[in-house]
Symmetry: C2
Subunit: 581 residues, 2 copies
Amino acid sequence: MKRMTDATSSPTQGTAERDTGADVHPLLAKHRQTLATALDAIRERDYWSAYPESPSPRVYGETAAAEGKAAFEAYLGKNFPLDQPGTDQWVATEASPFGVELGVSYPHPDVEQLFTAALAGMPAWRDAGPHARAGVCLEILDRIHSNVFELANAVHLTTGQAFVMAFQAGGPHALDRGLEAVAYAYREMTSQPGQAHWEKPAGKGAVLSMEKTYHIVPRGVGLVICCNTFPTWNSYPGLFASLVTGNSVVVKPHPRAVLPLAITVKYAREVLAEAGFDPNLVTLAAESPGEGIASVLATRPEVKLIDFTGSTGYGNWLEENATQAQVYTEKAGVNTVIVDSTDDFKGMCRNLGFSLALYSGQMCTTPQNILVPAEGIRTEDGHKSFDDVAAGIAGAVGKLTGEPERAVELIGAIVNDGVVSRLEAARGRGEVVLDSQAVKHPNYPDAVVRTPMVVKLSSGDEDAYGTECFGPVSYVIGTGSTAQSVEVFRRTVGARGALTAGVYSTDPAVLDEVEKASVDVGVHLSCNLTGGVFVNQSAAFSDFHATGANPAANASLTDAAYVANRFRVVQSRRHSQPAGA
Amino acid sequence: MKRMTDATSSPTQGTAERDTGADVHPLLAKHRQTLATALDAIRERDYWSAYPESPSPRVYGETAAAEGKAAFEAYLGKNFPLDQPGTDQWVATEASPFGVELGVSYPHPDVEQLFTAALAGMPAWRDAGPHARAGVCLEILDRIHSNVFELANAVHLTTGQAFVMAFQAGGPHALDRGLEAVAYAYREMTSQPGQAHWEKPAGKGAVLSMEKTYHIVPRGVGLVICCNTFPTWNSYPGLFASLVTGNSVVVKPHPRAVLPLAITVKYAREVLAEAGFDPNLVTLAAESPGEGIASVLATRPEVKLIDFTGSTGYGNWLEENATQAQVYTEKAGVNTVIVDSTDDFKGMCRNLGFSLALYSGQMCTTPQNILVPAEGIRTEDGHKSFDDVAAGIAGAVGKLTGEPERAVELIGAIVNDGVVSRLEAARGRGEVVLDSQAVKHPNYPDAVVRTPMVVKLSSGDEDAYGTECFGPVSYVIGTGSTAQSVEVFRRTVGARGALTAGVYSTDPAVLDEVEKASVDVGVHLSCNLTGGVFVNQSAAFSDFHATGANPAANASLTDAAYVANRFRVVQSRRHSQPAGA
């Protein structure tokens, strides 16, 4: 396909509209309605999703699942088909939590050649303009979506997520987050016109008149450092935000979850090449075992943008050492729920139980600390003691995870050995209300599957609950009162951060008090969830993920702050005839 | 005045409109039209100014100038009237370039007490919301504008700018830049609604329904580190961008230009208090001689935003060491003009001569390097040799600066001794086409006044012209060709950065080539300026100042990137009835 010049009309009426009369890029024309709806959604923040989350054959067709699985299986035991330049060896570093041998090898880059290749295509990508780049990025998202079952299998087998969750979070929800980032970036890039006519009265009827042109220019190379548990969901916002703003993107996958990113990079390169751009605008940087390539890449002068999801230690290192780049980090935190009272005790326990069980607590958004007054709480059935509450939550988890065939479709497998070690260490911290069980996976005999553990602590045990214990461990913590729960919440989240918080109360004053505390410590709050919405799930286009206002993250997915620094505006001006002349 | 709660309608139709039906804050109501017009202006980037730039009595009234001067004089020789807490001593550090004794002492803060006071008012300021804060900030701008002659006298006598320039750049143009920052921040803060209703189909006719609230929260304390030459123009964008987004602001003035900021802080505190907010949301941090308080303040954990204008060395230090904060820097650069050809030789020389003469080259935007082919250029009068061009520019400067009474109204005084030293050192670098003259100021006998110097170099003298020589020194540099001029431009601006660039050519291909180079190295370009627009002047609401895309600055005044990171969005959500229920 021949590359078309851009300078097109934007897809919606409103402030972003800058119709210059030129032809619209065919890929923007193709996806115009999707972009328009996404722009509406981020403005209104009501419900919308571009990519159906149900893997049902009624939605995706009878053959999609089998075809996607076959495409996934065709990668196994081979060199992954990526023809990017500068490959100096092939590396295979994955070990499926399900005990399945993947055996895929990935190109390892010579770093100098990688950056030379990454920079080469940027001028043409920049000059194509925001509209054409948005069209290409929307086509990449669409291309990945056309191969979503292939991607879902890769996410499933590298992360340990159950298949349906891997499909939803790794496919449609990740694509929604990528689209959301494209929409935000598009809005910001088009918030000033491409051209403006300026006339200043200069006295005695004279006029100073100028034509001004505003060029959107990229920052440099964007580096995306991906995590093991949500390789696509956590990386698509940064990847697409950097790419659509004109930057080249180097994707550094977690060594145990390379395949979902290799597939992503493959389709991105395919679309870029078809649209007449340099495929090396998106490259994969797989690392050899123990290499630590992220630090090498992150401190290169060419790298001006870094997106990272992972540990607090490494996130802080990046913020302090990659000072040549704008660094966006999502790190660890202590997600907290305050239980004060409820008019639906069973619903509360069921809802919290599901949140703890989902992916066996291996979500960065899983509640860890559940603060409950030691004297118990008011419910629709009268008073429930602290032990009743702990038993109710533990019972709900137990019910969801008691039967292996059903359990594994919710809890999946344990992503790596570190999680098992932390689980074992947590057992000694307090009274175990619900112990973790090893479960035999019906389909994957070598899978490491563990049900969540619930441990009782008291508010004095801050040494235990005051830091993140990533994995299937949650604490029900007895406090002196709800007021003390709020104090503990403020102190721990203030010090360690959190991505999510919840509160259960029938008292509007308590809800307001906890909302005030949440605003003060900068964490998103969910109130009285008893139905089909869970504290650990956020919906693209409506819910922000992380705030950037507490130590668990320095940015949010996705807001204007997340995209606006990924490009700059460079202006030129020259005199012209006054409009009336 | 009693503080009113906010949650008001925003002033314009469009995406920012979020009318919640509550009463509008009276200060937003008062300034609604100003904000609406500013929002239009940043979207269209056509000509607009909110504050008249002419100090004429016809504009400001017959008595304004005298009253403002009297108000300014009332400050002299006394402790400046600022009642902020934690003052541990009074410091007087100014020395007017005009040799006038100012003798004003300023409160020096105990840093612990300063931050305690700065943080105390933030929750109420945050909770007032974007609309109320915008109203208060607009009132502060208005209050300063009501006292603009007082401010102009302070800028004039601390910077050495001639009075009219001090009035324009230090008053209306600075206020325009502050208003521009308020408008950008307001747009970003209101780009998502305060509330949203979310409904997700949950199968079989069921609906998940939630009400979501989005709170705008500040980052912390914003520190504004001001410069000597443009104390208000360079600091108002950061000051108002941080304040309107809910942060507290500590203003650290340059020790030689404290008074303009002290006046600013005084009126800001006055308006805050009148509106029922804590005046300590804006404080002054004057330093004692040689103290280096900026580094102490900049690395405090409370400081989350830093705006700095000054040297490359200190700007880089801030970027590398104040990693707890988002740092916005404007540093040094090598502003460059490429002369290829012209159809208005006199107009070109006159325009460039004015740019060099204005404030004696002490603008961060003054051209330093003028690249001219050694074999000369084409003009409307035929060929002009390199020496003709150098003589033409030098002649224009000489004409503007030859007569002391007129000259001082353009060139002002030399801001400090460092500039004089650099001027002396430059004399030996090449052939002096126009030497700098010491001028006796007719009104200020002790003023240090120097006319600009023009020195001829060749492209091989990159040791001399490759770094900034801040002050009244410009180089006319002979190159092998315009193509080589573009190479030099790319190399020097790429390595050292620039805030401005210009080109003169009658050949559209050359204009395009230089525009391409400007986009590549990330500098704003002015083409063929021969009339009343000058390369070193940028108009708020239309011209961006700095790009953030080259080493001279890491941010632009003002774009979305400059404001979007100064606040965060914190969300809460709770179940609600479906809209149709």
